[in-house]
């Protein structure tokens, strides 16, 4: 099945990002295809390289970047990003900023869209 994932919440503050990550790993392990990952609302904070969590904690941005390196399309909404000061210069590698049209295409092309957030 082709699955798209949409994440609405920021890292660490909320479980959504971790749940989405675990969901995606499990889906891939079961042979599903991840159509794309879309960060919206405060979710755009998930992929800034400015974060520096304690060393014994998970590095959420790097985790997403590693998924991106495997070829999964990871998109940050430009409108949500601009409001929150997230620009290309602060992104970790393997993610990109684009428009809500990308979310639209994911919603149309994926068999399922799974939303993580409040």
């Amino acid at each position: 099945m082709k699955i798209a994932v949409c994440i609405y919440e920021g890292p660490y503050n909320h479980e959504a990002s971790d749940s989405a990550y675990n969901f995606i790993k499990a889906a891939i392990d079961r042979g599903h295809e991840i159509q794309g990952i879309f960060f919206y609302h405060d979710g755009v904070y998930n992929v800034t390289k400015l974060m520096e969590p304690p060393q014994d904690d998970r590095h959420i941005a790097n985790r997403w970047s590693e998924l991106g390196a495997k070829g999964i399309d990871i998109v940050v909404c430009i409108a949500a990003a601009k409001r929150r000061g997230i620009v290309d210069e602060v992104l970790v590698p393997n993610v990109r900023i684009s428009g809500l049209g990308q979310l639209t295409m994911m919603a149309i092309q994926a068999d399922r869209m799974v939303v993580f957030g409040d």
Binding site: A107, I108, R112, D118
Partner: protein, 133 residues
């Protein structure tokens, strides 16, 4: 070969103010309406407050977006529904709902359509994907 137009539903379940979900969710609807998709929107739970007439956000210090709902039909978002139980349990009636556009022929104002949970469930079952805000 042209593919069938996909049905995509938005559910709005949160109050319009106090967080940005509903406002940014509205931005998604307006963009998505420009694509070849069969869009519908359902307001339920506290989301029904988003389509209540006469919101005054001045004291909140934010611009507010009630007026944008008045352009939904212009954006070709015609399938707009309100869950009857959510509306009535919050002391609202159909007269409290915002106008989302006007009928091209009769110029009659169009309001969201009030529907029961069973109808919403039936519509949900037909959707290709559902996005919640």
């Amino acid at each position: 070969m042209a593919e069938e137009v996909k049905k995509i539903m938005f559910t709005v379940r949160k109050p319009p103010h106090g967080s940005i979900y509903v406002y940014e969710g509205l931005e998604v609807k307006l963009i998505m309406a420009a694509y070849d998709a069969d869009i519908s929107v359902v307001f339920m739970d506290d989301g029904v407050f988003a389509v209540k007439r006469g919101q005054d956000t001045k004291e909140l210090g934010i611009k507010g977006f009630e007026a944008t709902y008045g352009a939904l039909v212009d954006y070709e978002i015609q399938k707009v529904f309100v869950d009857r139980h959510s509306m009535e349990s919050r002391g609202m009636t159909e007269d409290d709902l915002v106008i989302i556009g006007e009928d091209e022929d009769t110029e009659e104002p169009i309001r969201p359509q009030v529907v029961d949970a069973q109808e919403i469930a039936a519509m949900m079952a037909e959707q290709h994907n559902i996005l919640s805000f």
